[in-house]
């Protein structure tokens, strides 16, 4: 040995210390785990106690104790919490153990889960296009007749059609968003002498008037992390519905009407001409592409811009303490995104549930998701969790109790239910390559001035899977 022994022992001690530290970590973690285990046991016991205390709804239900897992993209405390409240409500009635897991990237992740052989029982699809892909790949199970009958009691054909894949029903709508809305402050409009525009031309004239008066008409931002660009696609879709027929819209969404056609690129130009008008948009560093879409609530409240076109759920992004549609001076309200031809088409969005497992308990939960009861319970829970204001939840299910909705939300519902034409957000219907890919990225590129409309629309067409 070339080294003195005392050094060897010191080395040995160091190794022992390292192992000791690692071991200590394991012990600490294990100790914590046992603590928490007790808590969990306690809560389970408490839950059991409440179930027992609840009215005896279970007379040996055959589904008692069966398990259903639900997975979806809604993951914040309010949304996922309210969703879970609604499921708990149903679980208490039937004895089915329902677990809901929400993850922000669930919509991307479901591909891997299905292909990896580990799908949930029910997935909440944010895009009908994805539901159709899964149905065609044989992952989803077609709805049995009794489930379809139950769904038809609560939803109009305009909405159930989104869950229909090549003539077979796979999905049930369970949430609706209204996209054709413009947020504004009525009192401010009144004091400045602006009127709510009824047509697209009136909207453009109003904007010009605002610019002439030194006001900035619009707040627009399309930055949204990995989903940057979707705000732009919403504008294009809304105007497609207005400038052209619903049939053209359907053909476009199905890939039969090219992006580079005069119809679609004309709408691109219409949007960009408006956005690029000097003084039109209040945006970060003058760049719409750099403005986070969630940051547009503050300037609207601060009167930095007069209008903001965004979906019904945007209420939640408007700063806390803002009042909605109560007639006060600072109240924020909405008007219908004006039409071009005088009709009233509506752009909607929402989620659909699809089942990966064929079992009675799964179908019971699916039925519940498509019921107005689900919408009512969830809406009540979400409003409560929000602590007042608008909940951000909306369901176009019929025969709901309207009292669960606030006045502004009721006006959204009446727009949804009285529309001549309802079309789903087109990018959600297109194949993922386009709808969650090039439509967003190329759209962002034109907005940012990196490409012109002809280049961008051609690139989108090329990416369409044939």
């Amino acid at each position: 040995m070339t080294h003195p022994t005392h050094q060897r022992t010191r080395r040995g001690r160091r190794a022992t210390q390292l192992i000791g530290v690692l071991f200590a970590f394991t012990l600490i973690a294990a100790a914590c785990a046992s603590d928490d285990d007790d808590d969990a046991a306690a809560t389970t016991a408490a839950a059991a106690a409440t179930t027992a205390a609840a009215p005896a709804t279970t007379e040996a239900d055959p589904l008692e104790g069966t398990k259903v897992t639900v997975f979806g993209p809604e993951s914040s405390d309010e949304e996922a919490g309210a969703l879970r409240d609604a499921l708990d409500h149903f679980a208490a009635q039937t004895g089915i153990e329902i677990t809901y897991t929400g993850a922000r990237d669930a919509a991307d992740q479901i591909n891997a889960q299905a292909a990896g052989g580990n799908p949930p029982d029910i997935f909440i699809f944010p895009q009908p296009g994805k539901l159709a892909d899964f149905a065609r790949d044989g992952h989803l199970i077609a709805l049995p007749d009794d489930v379809i009958a139950s769904m038809n009691e609560h939803w109009t054909p305009a909405w159930t059609a989104f869950g229909d894949v090549d003539g077979t029903q796979y999905g049930i709508p369970n949430k609706s968003d209204l996209k054709s809305l413009v947020w504004y402050k009525p009192a401010l409009f009144e004091s400045k002498g602006y009127g709510v525009p009824g047509t697209w031309d009136e909207l453009k004239a109003l904007s010009a008037e605002m610019i002439a008066n030194g006001d900035t008409p619009f707040c627009i931002g399309i930055e949204s992390g990995p989903a940057t660009g979707w705000t732009f696609t919403d504008w294009v879709e809304d105007l497609m519905l207005r400038f052209h027929t619903p049939e053209d819209y359907d053909a476009w969404v199905a890939g039969d009407l090219a992006f580079s056609s005069d119809e679609v690129s004309g709408v691109f130009n219409e949007v960009l001409d408006l956005w690029n008008t000097p003084g039109m948009v209040f945006a970060a560093g003058g760049s719409i592409a750099a403005t986070p879409f969630g940051d547009n609530g503050q300037p609207l409240v601060d009167n930095d811009c007069m209008m903001h076109r965004q979906a019904s759920f945007y209420a939640a992004f408007i700063p806390e303490g803002t009042v909605f549609a109560d007639g006060s001076a600072d109240a924020v309200d909405t008007f219908y995104f004006p039409s071009v031809k005088g009709d009233k088409p509506v752009l909607g969005a929402g989620t659909l549930v699809g089942a990966f497992r064929d079992a009675p308990e799964v179908w019971e939960v699916m039925k519940f998701f498509g019921s107005s009861e689900y919408a009512e319970v969830r809406q009540r829970a979400q409003t409560e969790r929000k602590g007042g204001g608008l909940s951000g939840f909306l369901s176009a299910a019929t025969n709901q109790d309207p009292s669960v909705y606030q006045p502004l939300e009721q006006s959204f519902l009446s727009i949804l239910q009285n529309a001549d034409v309802v079309r789903f957000d087109g990018s959600d219907l297109m194949p993922a390559e386009v709808g969650a890919g090039t439509f967003w990225t190329e759209g962002t590129a034109v907005v940012n001035g990196d490409k012109n409309v002809a280049e961008a629309t051609q690139a989108i067409d090329e990416s369409w899977p044939r």
């Binding site: 945006a283 970060a284 940012n448």
Partner: protein, 525 residues
Amino acid sequence: MTALWGAFAGVVIAVGASAAVFWVTHRLFGLVERRWAVVTATSGVLAGGAAGAVASGLRSGADSTPLLAGSQLVWIVGGAAVFGLAGAAVGLLRPPSAKRTSAMQSRLRALTFVGPAMLFVALGLIIPLLRTIYLSLFDKAGTGFRGLANYGDIFTNAQSLDLSGWAGIFGSQLFWGSVILFAFALAIALARGRRRGVAADFSASTVGIGIGGGLLLSFAVFANLRGTVMNNLWWVVAVTFLSTALGLLAAVIADRTKRESFAKSLIFLPMAISFVGAGIIWRFMYIARPPQKSQTGLLNAIWVWFGTLRPSTGGAWIAVAVLATATAMLTALCAFGVRRRQSALAIGSATAAIPLLWLIYRFIGPGVGGSILGPNGEPIAGTILFVQESPFNNVWLMVVLIWIQTGFAMVILSAAIKAVPSDLIEAARVDGADERQVFFGVTLPTIVPTITVVMTAMIVLVMKVFDIVRVMTNGNFGTQVIANEMWQRSFTEFNLGLGSALAVVLFLGVVPVMGLNIRRMQRGE
């Protein structure tokens, strides 16, 4: 909660079982020379049990009916018994020569050491790699054979590789800056060489200037040759060099300070923050807001504040005074360096003075920072869109990774510096070497292998960069990289063919780096 217990039980069982298997095989293989029959019998039992398990698991057809009757246990025990007896018989009847058993023993011993790792690597990496190569030859659904068409798609696409802007390289300031630096380095090397009587003498300072020039040149090239592949290369060059250099700097200096662990912890902190956190952090650094509003992003706030320093308001004169003082000092230092023939000092201070002079010019003239003049002549913020303005938004994204990875380089290099034998350093100090000489003469040569390790690891890691791009731009604004493209193709669009081809391209791009490194390592041995 049961899952958590399951995890801990899994750990205990896995560790215990692995240790037991390791110990038993280790002992068993020790018997190869003396008790050959025991070894063959035991191997027979193991092989028979495994064969029995596989046999009982045989399934046939779509309804997967078991092919063989009988319970699994019977098959396993039966197989073990039959094979074990056969093994014992073979071992007893035909013992091999002593020379062969000894060779076998050493190979089997090696197997106990390498085996567990190989098992994980085979299941977790090699099988997926083969599957990926296979899938890359097929279409989106993985059924139609496409040959190499996916690879063709990648390289003929202007999004991946767009070399049309090559002429712009020669028009860029970066290019001419790099030419000046190269010329500088060469001039010094020649001058030093003439003094020493050789053609050219490259010292640490000339190499340093040369590397700086190389970085500028690469930036000039990558800013003009665009596309996903070029972006990846840009990331590799910039992040690898800068992170390693800054990590080395921090490790070396921290080694000498008293508050070493405090300083190192703070530089290391970014590594401890998740990518989600890092995305939010840099969003708050880079964000721009409308010019009329107060800025919430720190960098734009500073930039806009600079813009308010104008000669008319007096703010700029203070800045100019400070800058002028600094320039004067650098000039003095340069003169001192020239007289003392300390070329590094002279060149360094002269180089440092150039940006200061430029700043003075900007402050007196057009102004520094966001300084659009408003209608009433008041300065209005002109913000920088760090994330949106291509191509240099790539650099701002790289800054995030450099910020993170410097801690990585620092920790490994710091461990290497600590391992430099202190008696060597003491000996050098006794010989009268100063800190700089100790570093360049003793520390640096000893840690060069570690620097290579760090740079290799960094190249591999940066080549696969994904999270930052995904969180901050998702490939928009000309910042796409291969790994994010692969993610989008494979998981958003579920185009397994194209996604797999991209993965193979990424893999093949890194393999040469690894190969070179291993060659070097083996030459060193």
